[in-house]
């Protein structure tokens, strides 16, 4: 790690006008070591702020200087990183559009093509200091200035020094600052609000400015007022329903459709304003009915744009067109999903949604063959070198000889594996049986206290009335040992602490569950979602050979990486179905006896 430290010393010296503890220093360095994501929406502020360091196109003077500008023709295979997949409950993809809108604004000035930019990201080797679930992990992507090359306009904002220091102070905080994530929805809301009040402004401005000279306009105008009011209401409600949802994921690149729509809305509203300004405000148009009609047409067109948005963003991808095979690299768990026409990044988000509820949790303890089996063959041969030191030749010759010898040797390790497996299976089943019996017995110790029984209970043996927590603690003791042994046998002990078991027991007791229902959580490894706490985002890296805004095609392969495992996704199109028709008259179902068959012998 020291070789990584050295380049960052000037950087850190600039930043730190606060005294840093060594720990924070180190963690900050780790942050900076980690690969840059193109997107930067993490729930923690760190990423959002520090990501600004790598702003393309000149950078703010307030940002950190230590960065490299890429040579523009550096298009090689890219991998875009997709970060901070957060866990807010509602689904929206639409606030990405807000982010894209902002980015689009910036990209207009930076003149970067949406599709053409590819970035080269060099992944740091696996990070042993950070565990998979830490918040700091979410920050790591933006901050590696040394070797990142191009940064597209999507990902980076300028940040001030104060923000940087604030970020560094927040490193020890556990509460993430997520203002950056909400910038895009806010901007989107602003644009939406602006386009909603535009018709009202169209109507109101003439009234305010030259009310006296306006032609009076009676019933037709009022009819138009009513229709406009209702259409605006509908627009407002549908915008709220569809688009104003907190984002659930941040994508590495533009969300093309959303950008398109926002550009469309903006252009549309702008051109309407232009026309209005030139033709109505300037000459002080007196035909008020015409103005009202104009505003009504704006509202209509906005409704149609919203229809277009609905179709593009929500409906188009519903009809299945591709089958994605998702395989986890570490233990081979695979699933097949049908999706519609999506871009790679959207498909990645969708797959991750399904991943958290479909895939059993990744248990690294379950993967390896027992060491006793694997190492036996390694230590079988010792090679002694009796010759003179001859540097390079020896090692290869030696290893080759060992490999050849090992290959010729009769390999019995499969035998051992088989018996070992059988043994483990038997042990697990024995412990499971003990656990089930213990839990059943424990559950018979308590029963729900009915209020009518108070008078019936004998005064000599007053039963102590407990609340669920105490009841859970009371019956936990007899089953604790069996539970612990079972969890050890199935290598699940890291996922269930005693506290969590008692909580679950309390939950089951409260809801009148049977022992079997209580045990369901422990007997089968549940989906990953069950073991996560919701307040942190998840950092995933999308690795793809093509730009991630490309739509899915046959034969594409992309990966979603985490620290210790990855999901490999293969795309195949669903087959074209030729459905034929055959009509069978129900009266044509007739049967005869099989008569007079002739068999040749």
């Amino acid at each position: 790690m020291t070789n990584y430290l050295l380049p960052f010393l000037p950087l850190l010296s600039r930043l730190s006008h606060m005294a840093f503890k060594i720990d924070s220093f180190r963690s900050k360095v780790d942050l900076l070591r980690l690969p840059l994501t193109l997107s930067s929406k993490s729930i923690s502020s760190h990423k959002s702020q520090l990501g600004a360091v790598w702003e393309k196109g000149g950078g703010s003077g307030k940002g950190v200087v230590l960065k490299l500008r890429p040579p523009p023709a550096f298009d090689m295979d890219n991998e875009s990183t997709y970060s901070s997949y957060s866990f807010k409950s509602s689904h929206s993809r639409s606030s990405r559009k807000h982010r894209e809108r902002r980015d689009r604004h910036r990209s207009k000035s930076h003149d970067c093509a949406i599709r053409g930019d590819k970035s080269v990201i060099i992944q740091a080797p696996g990070e042993p200091l950070l565990d998979a679930e830490s918040t700091i992990a979410d920050d790591r992507d933006d901050n590696w200035g040394e070797t990142t090359t191009v940064v597209t306009g999507t990902s980076v904002d300028s940040v001030s020094n104060e923000d940087l220091t604030r970020i560094s102070k927040d490193l020890e905080d556990s509460s993430p600052l997520d203002c950056r994530r909400y910038i895009s929805p806010v901007l989107g809301a602003i644009l939406g609000l602006f386009s909603l009040i535009t018709p009202l402004a169209f109507l109101g401005l003439p009234q305010l400015l030259w009310r006296d000279t306006l032609d009076p306009c009676g019933t037709p105008c009022e009819g138009l007022y009513i229709s406009m009011a209702f259409k605006l209401l509908i627009l407002f409600i549908s915008t709220w329903a569809l688009f104003l949802r907190p984002p659930r994921a941040t994508l590495p690149r533009f969300y093309v459709f959303r950008c398109l729509l926002l550009a469309l809305v903006f252009l549309f509203v702008a051109s309407y304003w232009l026309f209005y300004g030139v033709r109505v405000l300037e000459p002080r148009e007196t035909d008020y009915r015409g103005i009202v009609g104009y505003a009504a047409s704006l509202v209509d067109a906005l409704l149609f744009i919203q229809y277009l948005a609905l179709v593009l963003l929500e409906v188009r991808h519903l009809q299945p067109a591709f089958c994605l095979k998702v395989v986890r690299t570490t233990d081979g768990v695979s699933r097949f999903y049908n999706v519609g026409y999506l871009s790679i990044q959207r498909a990645a988000v969708w797959v991750l949604d399904q991943y958290y509820s479909d895939f059993p949790v990744y248990n690294p303890a379950l993967l390896n063959l027992p060491k006793s089996i694997l190492t036996k063959r390694m230590s079988a041969f010792k090679v002694y070198n009796l010759e003179e030191e001859n540097s390079t030749n020896n090692s290869t010759g030696q290893s080759r000889a060992m490999i050849a010898a090992a290959a010729r040797r009769r390999d019995n390790s499969h035998n051992e594996y088989y018996y070992e497996e059988a043994e483990v299976e038997r042990r697990v089943r024995k412990r499971k049986a003990r656990l089930v019996v213990a839990v059943e017995e424990a559950f018979t110790h308590i029963k729900r206290h009915q209020d009518e029984e108070t008078t019936a209970s004998s005064p000599k043996h007053p039963r102590e009335v407990m609340d669920p927590r105490e009841a859970a603690q009371a019956i936990f003791a007899p089953m604790a040992r069996a539970m612990q042994k079972y969890l050890r046998a199935t290598r699940q002990q890291s996922y269930h602490t005693m506290e969590s078991i008692i909580n679950h027991l309390q939950f089951c007791v409260t809801h009148n569950m049977t022992p079997k229902a209580f045990l369901e959580r422990y007997l089968t490894p549940g989906p990953t979602l069950q073991y996560l706490d919701n307040n942190r985002g998840r950092q995933w890296t999308l690795v793809s050979e093509e730009p991630v805004t490309a739509s899915l095609r046959q034969g594409q392969v992309f990966c979603l990486k985490r620290l210790d495992f990855a999901l490999v996704i293969t795309v195949t199109p669903l087959p074209f179905l030729r459905l034929g028709e055959e009509f069978i008259d129900p009266k044509s179902h007739k049967f005869v006896m099989k008569l007079q068959s002739e068999t040749s012998v």
Binding site: Q596, E598, T599, S600, V601
Partner: protein
């Protein structure tokens, strides 16, 4: 060839011995059978009595082992290698004829011409040598 239910069946039979011919891993006899107790006897073109559910020879391949052995079309098979063929299903008859470990089948067959021949010979007007 009719029979009276409850009475033993009597018929004039001819013994025919057929050597099975090996033809690409099958042993064939060279004729086809029809009939059986699970078939419809009314469709049998060769039987006199249309309630007869016996096994009849419906086709002979010319030059085949059955033809060589003298089996004629329309013959009713009474026994195959000692197994009765008058009250069997079609499939059972086929199986008894196509046993793989037997090279030879010895049939007892009957036909109308045999009956007539015997009747004629019993006729006193027939000149006897």
């Amino acid at each position: 060839m009719s029979f009276i239910p409850g009475q033993p069946v009597t018929a004039v039979v001819q013994r025919i011995e057929i050597q099975k011919l090996r033809q690409d891993s099958n042993l064939i006899l060279g004729f086809s059978i029809g009939g059986g107790i699970d078939q419809d006897p009314g469709q049998n073109p060769f039987s006199e009595d249309k309630t007869d559910k016996g096994i009849y020879v419906t086709r002979i391949s010319p030059g085949g082992p059955a033809d060589v052995a003298g089996l004629k079309i329309g013959d009713k098979i009474m026994q195959v290698n000692g197994w009765d063929m008058t009250m069997v299903t079609h499939d059972k008859a086929r199986k008894k004829l196509t046993k793989k470990n037997e090279d030879v089948v010895r049939l007892l067959v009957t036909r109308k011409s045999l009956e007539d021949a015997v009747k004629k010979s019993k006729n006193p007007s027939y000149p006897r040598p």
